[in-house]
Symmetry: C2
Subunit: 642 residues, 2 copies
């Protein structure tokens, strides 16, 4: 069996005490860790205790860090720094690690003299040699004099001592934080790279130190070309661990186990991306899960219901043109179908769905995706650490592979072989009126939008990127009367499945809901697309579907913003249709149905001219209208606790 790439993470990346961190990191799958000095200092046990704890868990200690401000100093201070280094080397012996990270000096009184620095790094290298350890020298992006990896490499190369190597970090200059080339990394001899640290981050226009200390995230969650960096590192011949070093205020306050699992998943995902980037010369030990499905679509959405909720949803579906198409052979489960999609209502007692209903009330408990090969899609998701799920299966019923989403809801993968019975035929007693279904005004599910607790957004983005192989769209900030909403969409490569993820900053509503009745994420809305909103909406209204009233002022402003013809504005006003236009002239029409439940609703949308977004610019108007409606009209107030 191939030895795989060694995975590592700095203990500073997650929350908890040192023992909590180590246990969570082991459980997540990491091979080893960097011990961040403060985690050790705040731990009430000896270095030997830490060593034994790691040995018992089977975790290697790949690095001790950070050691600061050694080089470019006066002779007197050098002597003190050597003493300081010796003490840390002793500590490292007791910890059982042979590698220390030394950061380039950030002190304002550093002496900026490369020859002197080479001399002093030489002293450090020889001191390390005596102690039998290796020092990895890193150019901090905010270093006083040495702030690029190229400069650091020049110095390390000049010292030319086996006990001093180069430490590389994606957050170094001039690599990713400065968007400069990383190509020169590939020409550094691999054995001179003593350690490699990896972090992603969103692109932010801020001081690099602040950015680095507070806004890093796991690979796949940010905007850095982390795979490009890693590819060059491997091409250089580096054989050591890939180690995450993430400073993130949110991660430090998030549940330890979840962040640890995200970290491990992100490293594996990085390996897959790096493999793709390098191509056929990629090291075979890079993680190699099954490729994501080439085609994927929504097969059905499944709601957990009780009898009352079922009746309520069924009425809604009826007005939208859905028809009861079948009943499950062995469970209290109904199938509603429509040309635009299928909805399953699950009221089975003592099942996953009933547990979900108990916890969340009427809610989306599962999403099923139609794929080329359900087994492969499942295997990919499972390879990325998603928990497999299997429910009870009756005789001759289909075993549908599924995994858990981060909130515990399920994702099923379904395929159909030509000639075989379909899932519906296997598992359901179909009604006489089963198919073919008219398309009617709605043609398909365009996207699903989920509401998340504020700190869960990164977890979900990574879940869809890795387990599903989805792409991410740019993050947007959406105004809401009760707090801004961070929104980011993920989508399959061909755009056939889109999922918008909304995380509200409203601590009072979102958190209290997530801690009490709501408990985690949940459906915000399902958007059905239509080829012609101006045809579809009046037809739906005639069938009794009610739409959210949009404030008239919105339409008066539309006139000044887009110069649309009056008659079009009049129609949109009449039917409460919102409008957006992108830079290339693509147009988006969308209307919100009245709430189906206090938490979610349905939407009808039309895309024209390649419009590719979600009408975020109008989200404020819809959210304002919804808040007004919830308060019982324009003069109303929503009661809201402090």
């Amino acid at each position: 069996m191939l030895r795989s790439i060694r995975t590592s993470i700095a203990t500073v990346s997650i929350s908890g005490t040192l023992p909590e961190k180590l246990q969570a990191l082991k459980a997540a799958g990491f091979d080893g860790v960097e011990i961040f000095e403060n985690d050790f200092l705040y731990f009430d046990g000896t270095p030997g205790d830490v060593r034994r704890m790691c040995e018992d868990l089977g975790l290697a200690i790949y690095l001790f860090q950070p050691f600061r401000d050694f080089e470019g100093v006066s002779a007197e201070r050098l002597a003190r720094n050597v003493e300081r280094a010796k003490r840390k080397f002793e500590l490292m012996h007791e910890l059982g690690t042979d590698r220390m990270l030394a950061c380039s000096n950030v002190s304002p009184d550093m002496i900026r003299d490369d020859a002197l620095i080479v001399d002093q790094l030489g002293v450090l290298a020889r001191t390390a040699e005596e102690a039998g350890v290796i020092v990895a020298y890193e150019a901090l992006a905010w270093g006083r004099h040495v702030f690029s990896y190229k400069h650091a490499w020049k110095l390390v190369d000049a010292v030319n001592h086996p006990n001093l190597g180069l430490a590389l970090d994606t957050f170094q200059r001039p690599t990713l934080s400065i968007r400069d080339s990383v190509d020169e990394i590939a020409s550094i001899p691999g054995e001179r790279i003593a350690f490699v640290q990896i972090a992603d981050a969103p692109m932010l226009a801020m001081d690099v130190l602040e950015w680095s200390r507070h806004y890093r995230c796991f690979p796949g969650q940010g905007a850095f070309d982390v795979a490009g960096f890693t590819a060059r590192v491997l091409e250089a011949g580096y054989k050591g661990p890939l180690s995450l070093e993430i400073f993130n205020d949110g991660f430090r306050a998030a549940p330890t186990a979840i962040t640890a699992a995200d970290g491990y998943r992100s490293l594996r995902f990085l390996e897959e991306q790096t493999r793709a980037l390098i191509g056929e010369n990629a090291p075979p030990e890079l993680f190699n899960p099954p490729a994501p499905p080439e085609h994927i679509g929504f097969q059905f959405l499944e709601f957990a219901v009780d009898d009352t909720a079922r009746e309520h949803v069924a009425q809604w579906l009826g007005r939208l043109g859905f028809r009861l198409a079948g009943k499950h052979r062995s469970k209290d489960v109904q199938l509603y179908r429509h040309g635009a999609g299928s909805i399953v209502l699950n009221a089975e007692a003592d099942s996953f769905a009933s547990a979900f209903f108990q916890q969340h009330g009427l809610s989306l408990c599962a999403s099923a995706f139609h794929v080329d090969d359900a087994k492969l899609a499942f295997e990919r998701a499972a390879a990325y650490g998603s928990k497999p799920f299997s429910g009870r299966v009756g005789p001759n019923e289909r075993v549908v592979p599924g995994v858990q989403s981060p909130d515990g809801s399920l994702d099923y993968f379904v395929d159909e072989a030509p000639g075989d019975p379909t899932l519906w035929e296997s598992d359901f007693v179909l009604t006489d009126i089963d198919g073919p279904y008219e398309v009617g005004p709605l043609s398909r599910i365009d996207h699903v939008c989920l509401s998340l607790p504020a700190d869960a957004l990164d977890t979900w983005v990574l879940f869809f990127r890795s387990a599903f192989g989805f792409e991410t769209e740019a993050a947007v900030l959406v105004p809401d009367p009760y707090g801004l909403v961070h929104s980011r969409a993920v989508r399959s490569r061909d755009g056939s499945v889109r999922i918008a993820l909304n995380a509200s900053m409203d601590r009072y509503t979102a958190v209290s809901e997530s801690l009490s009745t709501y408990r985690g994420s949940g459906l915000n809305h399902v958007a059905f697309s239509t080829p012609d909103n101006f045809d579809a909406i009046p037809r739906l209204e005639a069938d009794g579907v009610r739409f959210l009233r949009i404030p008239r002022n919105y339409y008066d402003d539309l006139v000044t913003r887009f110069g649309l013809p009056d008659e079009q504005i009049d129609k949109m006003r009449e039917h409460n249709i919102l409008y957006d236009r992108d830079e290339r002239g693509g147009e988006f029409f969308h209307a919100y149905m009245e709430q189906l439940d206090q938490r979610f609703f349905l939407k009808v949308i039309e895309r024209r001219g390649g419009y590719d977004g979600y009408g975020a610019a109008n989200s404020g108007a819809a959210r304002g209208a919804r808040a007004t409606a919830a308060a019982g009209g324009s003069g109303g107030m929503r009661a809201r606790g402090a």
Copy 2:
């Protein structure tokens, strides 16, 4: 009676729907508002509805904003922009406001030609004249070509039309965000300043647009010299409203009424500061509350207890050398005294304290401050909108003026006139052993530290700055195993009262606690100072006081950090004393007692050589140790829900 300065705020500054915002702003005390266009667009009612709502409330609409990208455009676009302006002017008539904010153009294709811009602003001014409105032109700090108030003023001056004035904003260049002089403002004719917007912000090294859009705060909460700006504006002869325009992600998610009240309080505080800055020539209508007490000290801390909690706390106090000094004449309240301070334990049924105990358990329900003149101190706090409190007073007992803190706990003000009975003599039956008390190892209360929900920090800072006239210290970020802690201290001018405010980012602990058992802020610790920690701690230990064990690793590291003598380190290790040193050589020794309650504890500190901080650098060590202790030892894990 003097007419006061008109107070205003942009509706974007707080959360809620437009009706919610307006009602909260009126209740907070504002004279009028700026209607932020999106708030209007998302409101389902006519402009006339908004006008009537404001009239019914007695709120003026001082401004409609923003109007964008008018000037520096092609002739064709100018014509469209004039149409756009006319429509907005019509809307303003219906709203009943005569003033509109026009922001300098931010479009990349703006034509950077001052002569053209002056021409086009002239067109805007004449269009405004026809409509009977005034346009206030503002240089956005991120404007394409016009991004300083000096440039904007040059253009407005050149247009020289009464319907075009200058809008000033503290977030403009080159005023506060760029830390440049604001002195030239005073030389602009006051009648040409059409509007003044005020915001404060912390100093952040980030893109000015991001900074301005997300991190503004109310005057007194940030680091800008807002009073200096306001003084120049008033010296210029500006007579219009002072209007807050705050873009803050936290405020947009915070409870509407609290933010509105903070806003009003901040404007009044700004007026007081501005008055002080201008001196005797200050406009008499500027807010003029009683000055803060010249001398202030902790008189007593009062805990809400039941019988069990009282016994528990009394034991603790006994070990620290406190003695039962008296019982209240009419209530179930006990007084414990010590040279270092007084503690009141309140178990009175059906009282404020019992309500507090019911809600929070054992908790700090009141703090009493010794001041020169209690009536004046109370009047100042009340003038800043703090709710007065008066409890039951028995015959011949003292009426102690008090106000509510933001969390509902009380602040009392106490003074003593020579010859009159003291508060203790009036209200308590004193024991034989009443005073004089030996100082013992503890000399005084150095500071009190409160734990706050994350979004309450700004509210508390402003409360102490305005109601108490306290100064603020720099904000620091403190690591904790379960989330970073934003910490900021306030203090009386002479440092005799210091209160550290800690807001944790740990959503899971802090928020769930604040929403359930904990409900808001609460005492984190009380720090007693001692002239000699190395004398005090062993004596306290001998009396049975137990101190939190600090990890040994902390002391090993101290050696390398500060080069302290071995014997000193040994003593500190033995007695679990932490150490910090400031840049000027001032030293800080502090030790944490074991938790008195699951939420709070006591601390013993010693300051040497003018050390003025709180040992934040060690907070991580103590928090780590506490988490370890809570988990039951070094190998333990704290159970923690997701």
